[in-house]
Amino acid sequence: MPVVKRVERLDADAALTALYTSHYRQLVRLAALLLDDLSTSEEVVQDAYVRMHGSWHRIRDPEAAVGYLRTTVVNLARSRLRRRMVAQRHAPKPMPDAPSAEHGALERLERDRLLLAMRRLPARQRECLVLRYYADLSEAQIAEAMGISPGAVKSHASRGIAALRVSLEAV
């Protein structure tokens, strides 16, 4: 990405601006797919950028910075989810999700079911699937972002897909 390449010789502030312009929105969307909450996702991504700015003297390379941001976002999202799960354990149970009236189309129902099933997956499986099918990362990149081995990525992804298939079929 040309904008990112240009930050190579720049300082942390300039790198922050360039990387914000080129990747902020995509990272927020990635975080939102992991967290289901736009405002928390924005906080998480902003936190990742602040950390990257503080570590710029070690990172330097813009390509590495993108990997650093992605890994930080995944880790922070995981940590938020963990906290949220603890809070939810003590919260009253919500009403079950139901498709709204205008969502009559079969395809729409299918997608709603898929999203619901995604939310119920274990965090690691969900991360793998979002990084693979939304961010289009390779197994090696996912392994790096999640801090696990490529073999574990394969295993989480295949279990996740299998679980989604079961959910889609269970109607």
Partner: protein
């Protein structure tokens, strides 16, 4: 019984669903402002923390040096009178110069006697929320519309694009520190979004003045044009380069991206440049322009970019010092 879905079906459906879900999400356009505020706060904290850590380290070394001979000779705490309960007497408390906040008026600190409102960088018509708090009411003649977010957003956009004709604003949504107003221009072919303007109040209260924190295309359609980018550092009057993307929405005509450098809260234009965008058969094109400030800004600069007509738009851009 054969399965209704195979893995490829699920993968295809998953990819489409995630893409669709993600496209529905529009981050607020003030992300960079918030990140910068947090970076500034972090720097300030470190400014205080570093000497304190050094001081604590030095104190620990001195304490170790002083304590070591008596410890080594076995004449340490044994000689110290014990407190009731058998605890050794505490050392006299060290002076504590630790300030808990930065200097008054620095960004992020509460002001105006209300801890809920914190200072922050702003773009127009004042450079910070606190300065807006101090001046907005007094300068009601100069900026009479500040208590109306719609009029303030329109005045702000007009202060850059110069033409107020047909501009209006309506509330887009609330975001945690304030409100977002969608500024549109009425044209012969209908309404065209121009910018999404982010505003915050300078104090609590329904009649409190608004100031502009930022403006961005992020968050609305692909048709608005005015985008603001804070520039981290403008080194004196050295030239800097602005690079971005522009999109042609209608027609085949080439566009011009207009760029301005100002200081936050100032209407004085420190640099202006035009960047021609020749689309040819492409809908999306990059553009570049070098800006040279007429005089050195006293503070951080604000770069604004917009297209020469309502049919084009500035999609993304970044301003940075020209590499040596």
């Amino acid at each position: 019984m054969a399965s209704e879905y195979d893995d490829r079906d699920v993968e295809r459906l998953l990819r489409a669903t995630l893409r669709e879900e993600a496209d529905r999400l529009h981050p607020a356009g003030d992300g960079l402002t918030r990140i910068r505020e947090r970076v500034v706060n972090r720097r300030r904290w470190r400014t205080w923390l570093t000497p304190l850590v050094a001081l604590a380290g030095a104190a620990a070394v001195i304490a170790a040096v002083v304590a070591a001979p008596s410890y080594l000779t076995g004449s340490g705490s044994k000689d110290r009178p014990a407190q009731p309960g058998g605890q050794p007497a505490p050392a006299s408390p060290a002076p504590s110069p630790t300030p808990t906040q930065g200097p008054p008026g620095s960004l992020g600190t509460p002001y105006g006697g209300d801890d809920n409102l914190r200072d922050m960088l702003t773009v127009w018509p004042y450079p910070s929320r606190r300065i807006g708090y101090e001046r907005a009411d007094a300068e009601a003649q100069t900026y009479p519309n500040l208590s109306r977010p719609d009029l303030t957003a329109v005045d702000f956009v007009a202060s850059f694009v110069g033409d107020k004709q047909g501009l209006s604003a309506r509330r887009y949504d609330a975001y945690p520190p304030g409100v977002r107003m969608l500024v549109v221009r009425e044209t012969a072919t209908g309404e065209v979004p121009v910018s999404l303007v982010y505003l915050v109040r300078v104090r609590l209260g329904n009649d409190a003045p608004y100031v502009v924190v930022g403006a961005s295309r992020a968050g609305i359609t692909d048709q608005d044009s005015l985008t603001i980018s804070p520039l981290p550092t403008v080194p004196g009057t050295a030239a800097f380069r602005v690079t971005g993307l522009a999109r042609r929405n209608q027609g085949l005509a080439d566009r011009t991206v207009i760029l301005q450098l100002r200081e936050p809260g100032s209407t004085e234009v420190l640099a202006q440049q035009s960047a021609p965008v020749r689309f040819g058969e492409f809908a999306l094109r990059t553009w570049t322009a070098d800006l040279t400030p007429l005089q050195a800004p006293r503070s951080t600069g604000v770069v604004a970019a917009w297209t020469s007509d309502a049919d084009g738009m500035v999609q993304e851009f970044v301003a940075a010092p020209t590499a040596p």
